[in-house]
Symmetry: none
Subunit: 211 residues, 2 copies
DNA sequence: CTTCATATGAGCATTGTCGCCCATCGCCGC
DNA sequence: GCGGCGATGGGCGACAATGCTCATATGAAG
């Protein structure tokens, strides 16, 4: 019996998913959550085989929740549910430890197949595009490291996205303002961005901070 | 028997809604559609009692579809389904001829109640907030403020969150940079914020832009 | 041992942002 | 018609952010 955790902030969607899963002979819904934080709590207490997480949820995104769950419990496999198949969260989801990525646009059978696949410890991709992307991602040696950014740079980006000024970041990290500017400048160059506004969007996409 | 049309671009959501409705003794799903245009076609051919339309769909939004359906067939009542209860589409939905507005965040029983309510030609509101808004809307003769922000200010905020500089916004809107700064300044004051970084987060929270 | 990445920091010039005050115009409600 | 608000803009000053170049120390990788 595959025990599944459902996390989605839309009650109606949750009901639909639950009915879908309960209709399968080999699956049962172990818990439901209506936001990311609750998803992490329920995942750690219920220890389901599969956690189905919506990408976008209040309090904590699906990406952040996936990181939390995977870092505490490798036995729970994460299946990410997204609105659009072409959104930018695909790679981030894999880096956050997700074993599968399914679009809500897909058929319900896709979701069921995906749950069975990731429950067995394998990886599920919902579209051909993503299959190609995945192969490229693996070939590029992205198997271990998760970032272009160094830990220090990540810290700075996080604070920038929290609306800290360079000076405030310098104080918070006990650095010179100049050093903060260096890190920020290096990050902008690495990501091909122009200003902190783009960085904020990046940080939110990556689930580094909450909107 | 209440005959229902389901229109949503997310297959998994469609399945959930269909199961939910088919489980009711007095309802049946007469048709499904995966975008707005198809929703109009199916509504006009099947003439369901209730058309449940997602606000955001490809090819034609739920709002446009509602207008089309209502202008051709007053017998079909439209129930609008939205992602967030606080999005700006509430008033527009009513103006487009919707008889009800339900958030996907609500419980499944809300949706079922809403379908029965609008099938009887009455109006359904899914949340207390919307009840209050509705009363105000009726009292004000639908001059309802959906935000603290004026339309112009919303435009500017949107562009700020898209990483436009003041100068670029001025060009895009054919304005002076000074005017853009005025709008931005007024918005910052209204929302009690300090800089554009906070505005970006606000805009993303509000769903004005994608991260 | 040398090379490379990371972290740290400076100087200087340019551009962007923000706060504050002000003015005009048009529209709407009383 | 008066008063308020929204949209439009100007001016000025202070501060923040960005670009560019450069320098140093450290530790890991070769």
């Amino acid at each position: 019996m595959i025990r599944v955790l459902i996390a989605d902030d839309h009650g109606i969607v949750r009901s639909g998913l639950t009915m879908l899963i309960e209709r399968q002979a080999d699956m049962t819904v172990a818990a439901e959550a209506q936001d990311g934080l609750e998803a992490v709590e329920r995942a750690l207490s219920e220890r389901p085989d599969v956690a189905v997480l919506d990408v976008s949820m209040p309090r904590m995104t699906g990406l952040q929740a996936a990181r939390q769950i995977r870092s505490h419990d490798q036995a729970t496999h994460v299946l990410m549910l997204s609105m659009h198949e072409d959104d930018g969260y695909f790679f981030e989801a894999l880096e956050a430890g997700a074993s599968g990525y399914v679009s809500k646009r897909g058929a319900d059978s896709d979701l069921i197949d995906a749950i069975r696949t990731v429950a067995n410890g394998r990886t599920f991709l919902s579209s051909r595009t993503q299959g190609a992307l995945m192969r490229q991602w693996l070939e590029d040696g992205h198997t271990g490291p998760r970032d272009d950014l160094t830990p220090r740079e990540l810290e700075v980006v996080k604070l920038i996205a929290e609306a800290y000024t360079n000076r405030q970041i310098a104080e918070a990290l006990t650095l010179s303002e100049k050093t903060v500017e260096s890190h920020r400048g290096n990050v902008l160059a690495k990501l091909g961005m122009r200003d902190r506004v783009e960085l904020v969007r990046y940080a939110i996409r990556r689930g580094l901070v909450e909107p």
